[in-house]
């Protein structure tokens, strides 16, 4: 098959090199009968998936085990999909080119809801029975994790096991259970029951959900067997500094979205922005030591040959020793022409001087995320950034010669008024004013301020998990309002939403009944919903109508505080009581302090024995 694909199929598709799995540092093993074959699946294109840090960690970790071969598989682009189907070929693990359905595990990472249709499509292209309950003995176990697994319910018909929380420790326990199960020659269900007893593992087939006939909300969530715990506790690594991180990562031949060494300097975030799911589910904050970071980056640069290193985290400027770290890295790599980049910077967390230090040559764009246009709204979402912070930052940037500033906002936030929308335009105008204040000789010759808005999607496990999303009509009218409020030609406005945020809202807070919709949408050919040119809202609308499911129920409805939410059985460590209190504070535009300054008792401190924040 390999030879046939190489000779007859790949010459016909775009980016054929991404379907061969022979990149530098890719892992190739000699398979044996006992070897566990694990296909790590990223439900989006190669270029997107190869930029994902979690995959690199788990790929390395699993392949450290002698008797496990972990390979990668991505959603084939539409031309490759067409060839696979036309030639009756099965989607395969890249490294061995073995069909997906011959693997022991197919593991999906769920990074965004809009990739759910790709999960189904990849199972189908891998010739794996779509629904978990119909899968035969001998078929792979389909496992999933990542942020969207925190509300696993919409995918529960298709996934055998979910891992809730950080996968590094859990995945090895699951592999152990599998080895034992294989020795015992058990049935499929036996393995699922074994895995259900591992903390952090959720097996949807072992639970039953009932819904209220009148309201449609969840009435009960019940384990069906004694092996299945009533509550699933998310898993997190206590000692991140000594946690596994690979020294070799696969270096792609084609350009990927983040084509660089991406090294995680800390996990979690203590800012407590109320819209941000990551900020809640990845708690607590855990840092790596400066020395560890430097040592690991050195090894990675040596092994990959990359000329750029990005320090990743949810808010890189919040790393406690960020200045020392940057200084050390710049010193070490300046002469080697390796550049350091910092994604996810808060406006108030890092000085422009520091930015200049690392971006010695190129002054490309400066991107900042005030998230909301007025102080009141920034307090509602607990962003904790002030207008002064922003204007001071842009002024310094203009003095240093920056000329292109991009500002990110969300619209559709709770309690939003016309004033908050106009505040976005206003902030753009004030940014222009700061530029004009700067001496002609210092500032860049041209100025471009780009305001960008996205439509807010309320997410589970955030203080806004109970709110109804704005309707598409409301979003459109807010976009029009903002557009009309912009008077200066130096300011441009970009927005994007073609119903994607609505669908995202449906699946983010969906329940098991959405499985029918996903299946129907898959039959109608939905996939690559995150890619504008392939997103077909009308197909989804048909799928909802034909399955008799009202998407507004999930996206637009405001929930009562005492309602049983579909994801309530998952314990993230952040208490529901805390989220409720935060929701109420949001209504009064009251802020909550940054964790290290003052603990607000979210619950994570008591969640795991022996854990203490900020010591």
């Amino acid at each position: 098959m390999n030879n046939y694909i190489e000779k007859k199929i790949l010459p016909l598709v775009t980016k054929p090199i991404t379907y061969l799995g022979n990149e530098v540092n890719s892992v190739h093993k000699t398979p044996s009968e006992e070897m566990i074959r694990f296909a790590f699946a990223f439900p989006d294109t190669y270029e997107v998936g190869m930029s994902h840090l979690g995959m690199k960690i788990l790929y390395g970790l699993l392949n450290e085990e002698e008797d496990i071969w972990c390979e990668r598989v991505f959603a084939p682009w539409v031309d490759m999909e067409e060839q696979l189907v036309k030639n009756n070929l099965i989607l395969y693990g890249l490294e061995s080119m073995m069909p997906l359905n011959e693997h022991d595990f197919v593991g999906f990472t769920l990074q965004y809801e809009m990739s759910f249709s790709n999960v189904l499509n990849m199972l189908k292209l891998g010739h794996i029975t779509l629904e978990s309950k119909e899968r035969n003995e001998g078929e792979p176990f389909v496992i999933a994790g990542g942020p969207c697994a925190y509300n696993p319910e919409p995918l529960s018909d298709f996934i055998d096991l979910f891992v809730i929380g950080e996968g590094e420790e859990v995945i090895l326990k699951i592999m152990d259970a599998y080895r034992n199960w294989k020795k015992a020659k058990g049935q499929r269900i036996d393995f699922l029951k074994m895995a259900a007893q591992i903390e952090g593992v959720y097996i949807p087939a072992l639970y039953e959900v009932s819904y209220d006939e009148n309201t449609g909300v969840v009435k009960s969530f019940t384990p069906l067997v004694e092996e299945a715990p009533a509550t699933i506790r998310k898993q997190f690594i206590t000692d991140l500094d000594s946690a596994y991180f690979p020294e070799k990562i696969v270096v792609s031949y084609t350009e990927t979205v983040h084509d660089r060494v991406s090294y995680e300097i800390f996990r979690g975030c203590g800012r407590g922005c109320r819209f941000c799911q990551a900020g809640m589910i990845y708690r607590p904050t855990r840092e790596k030591k400066v020395a560890t970071i430097q040592e690991k980056i050195r090894a990675l640069v040596n092994e990959t040959g990359y000329d750029e290193v990005s320090l990743s985290s949810l808010s890189t400027g919040d790393y406690s020793a960020i200045e020392t770290l940057i200084k050390n890295l710049v010193e070490e790599y300046e002469n080697q022409k390796v550049s350091i980049s910092l994604p996810s910077l808060r406006i108030d967390s890092l000085s422009i001087e520091m930015l200049e230090e690392i971006q010695k040559v190129r002054k490309t764009g400066l991107t900042l995320a005030p998230e909301a246009g007025t102080q009141r709204m920034r307090d509602v979402i607990n962003k904790g950034v002030t207008e002064e912070n922003l204007l001071e930052t842009v002024r310094t940037a203009f003095e240093k010669g920056w000329g292109h500033v991009k500002l990110y906002f969300m619209i559709g936030l709770p309690g939003e008024t016309a004033e908050d929308i106009e505040g976005i335009a206003d902030l753009g105008q004030k940014t222009v004013a700061e530029y004009l204040k700067v001496d002609r000789n210092l500032r860049n010759k041209s100025l471009k301020v780009v305001l960008s808005t996205s439509s807010f999607v309320p997410k589970p496990f955030t203080p806004f998990q109970w709110m109804g999303q704005n309707t598409q009509t409301e979003f459109r009218s807010k976009q029009q309002q903002l557009k009309a409020a912009i008077k200066d030609r130096k300011i441009s406005y970009s927005w994007h939403d073609s119903g994607v945020s609505y669908l995202e809202a449906v699946f983010a807070r969906g329940d098991r009944r959405l499985g029918k919709v996903l299946k129907k949408a898959n039959e109608k050919g939905c996939r690559f919903d995150g890619w504008g040119e392939h997103f077909k809202l009308e197909k989804w609308t048909e799928a909802f109508v034909e399955t008799g499911i009202d998407p507004d129920f999930y996206a637009l409805r405001s929930r009562e505080f005492d309602e049983i939410l579909p994801w309530d059985f998952i314990d993230t460590g952040v208490k529901k009581e805390f989220l409720k209190a935060e929701a109420q504070k949001a209504q009064e535009a009251l802020t909550t302090p940054y964790c290290p300054e003052n603990c607000s008792n979210c619950g994570i401190m008591e969640f795991k024995k022996g854990w203490k924040c900020h010591v």
Binding site: E6, I17, E303, G305, R362
Partner: protein
């Protein structure tokens, strides 16, 4: 400062690299091999490295040339060993020589390029027909093709001067496939793609060859005026 010129080959595992992919690959390989590259000046410094010819996606080759400017002196054996230790399966450096940093680039020195192509024949085309057609094709004093110029306009161009020779032989055990040897000339750093030559045979004699991306194209030799 010095310059290293090297000859390398690219085999099947990496034949689908694009020119940019290959540039990136070499740049990273140089870093893994711990070579100190010379960088250009300016706002966006880039390493001084190049290839004599861009390779198209799908092409395999026994004979390609590349060059790179280094900050320090390194002997050619050391270069060869260190690079081959870090290059992935599918790329291999065969020879290397150290020269002055100012040495002219290799791309101006290319004289001829020899290809071996494996091509399927159009339905019901016999091998003798192909041989006859090619023979007649080569007897033509001029072979005009239509080509889009830099401004996007279609212009006529005579490609006869680029074609030195074409030979056709039958593939072992596959009557629908032929092997074509082709030697093409470089004139003022210009040449013609071998697939285009086959295409112009088709245009003149009716569909003889099946021309699609599954044609296997292999460069056997790249001759430099000055030798290597």
């Amino acid at each position: 400062m010095s310059k290293i010129q090297y000859q390398f080959k690219r085999t099947t595992p990496l034949r689908f690299l694009s020119h940019l992919d290959q540039q990136r690959l070499f740049q990273r390989a140089f870093r893994r091999a711990k070579l100190s590259l010379e960088y250009s000046q300016g706002f966006n410094p880039h390493p001084k490295m190049s290839f004599a010819l861009a390779m198209s996606v799908g092409l395999t080759s026994d004979c390609e040339y590349g060059e790179v400017n280094l900050l320090d002196e390194l002997n050619s054996d050391e270069f060869l060993v260190r690079m081959n230790a870090v290059l992935p399966d599918g790329l291999e450096i065969i020879r290397a020589k150290v020269c002055e940093a100012e040495t002219n680039s290799l791309s101006s020195s290319i004289e001829k390029s020899c290809y071996l192509l494996k091509v399927r024949l159009a339905p019901e085309i016999a091998f003798v027909t192909v041989a006859d057609n090619v023979e007649s094709f080569l007897k033509r004093p001029e072979i005009m093709i239509e080509k889009r110029n830099k401004k996007g306009k279609m212009v006529e161009k005579d490609i006869r001067q680029f074609i030195q020779s074409i030979s056709v032989s039958q593939s072992d055990g596959d009557s629908e496939q032929v092997e074509i040897g082709m030697t093409l000339n470089y004139i003022d750093q210009q040449c013609v793609k071998p697939e285009l030559v086959l295409d112009s045979v088709n245009r003149l004699y009716g569909e003889v060859f099946m021309i699609d991306p599954t044609i296997e194209c292999h460069r056997q030799e790249l001759l430099l005026k000055a030798g290597f």
